[in-house]
């Protein structure tokens, strides 16, 4: 067995074991940390396939950002940190479905791509960027728009409702900005005229 196949096989074994631990770990934080290992092995498989930029994008976006988001989600939902049953009663059925799906997919892969070989080459970041900004420019811009929309959507969804949070009633921008300023400790007016923050605070 040649070296690239050995490397890919090691990524397969490590990533497969880590992903199995992701879905079977009884501690939710351990599951999130095993997800790191699984995603890093996915990035390693990108490297063996020659997709350099994608590998580092995977490390930055998934291992860097998504895992942090998920850990924050675990923390904010006060997930029970500690070993406990995390599976519902569908566990056996789900295992049967997953094994059957894996058998089906592997059979299809062997039937379709059993004899294919990949001629390894390196696709540098410059090469990918060239086609991305010339041929794929419009989808790329649409992706940026989608990311902006999802950011705003997530903010709107996760924002606290009126009267629930620490902020006072939402009003014009000046009121909110003034309310965020530290409250005045004494009532002596500042020489030179009242500041807008003081006006709001005294209301």
């Amino acid at each position: 067995m040649a070296a690239p196949e050995l490397f890919m096989l090691s990524a397969l074994v490590v990533g497969g074991a880590a992903s199995l631990l992701v879905v079977t770990a009884r501690n939710v934080v351990h599951a999130a940390l095993f997800l790191v290992v699984a995603l890093v092995s996915v990035a390693a498989s990108f490297l063996w396939l020659g997709a350099e930029f994608l590998a580092w994008a995977q490390v930055l976006v998934y291992v860097g950002a998504v895992i942090v988001l998920i850990l924050f989600g675990l923390m904010l939902t006060r997930a029970p940190i500690g070993p406990m049953a995390q599976h519902n009663e569908n566990r056996k059925l789900a295992a049967i479905v997953a094994v059957a799906l894996f058998a089906l997919l592997t059979g299809l892969n062997v039937a379709s791509f059993g004899g294919e070989t990949i001629e390894l080459r390196t696709t540098g970041a410059g090469q990918l960027g060239e086609v991305l900004y010339l041929q794929w420019a419009f989808p790329f811009v649409v992706l940026g728009f989608l990311l902006t929309v999802s950011l705003i959507g997530a903010l709107v969804l996760a924002r606290r409702e009126e009267g629930e949070g620490p902020l006072p009633d939402p009003g014009p921008h000046e009121e909110i900005a003034a309310a965020r300023e530290p409250a005045p400790t004494d009532a002596t007016p500042i020489p030179g005229g009242p500041t807008p923050g003081r006006e709001i605070g005294s209301r």
């Binding site: 989600g73 995390q86 789900a94 479905v97 990949i118």
Partner: protein
Amino acid sequence: MAAIYPLTFAALLFSVGVYGVLSRRNAVLVLMSVELMIAAVVVNLVAMNEIVATQMGDPLLTGQAFALFVLGIGAAEVGVGLAIVLLLYRNRANVNVDDAELMKY
């Protein structure tokens, strides 16, 4: 390299993700399993890109460009998904997906 290795890796990740989505209770763990499935799709896209490039050449790098788009969409998905999970937690005080059955029937 034989093309079957990355394709098997993708199939394994996808099946494990399906198992996690079907059997986990915590909504955040379900999201993590969805991440595994997305990673499997990306591995498949990159592998197919290399197969096509080996056979007939691929000057557009279609598979890698799509893989990059899937990466971005996955990041957007996990952001919105976690916002929805937070909303679920705020309204129901737990994130058990089996209990979220308000619209079941």
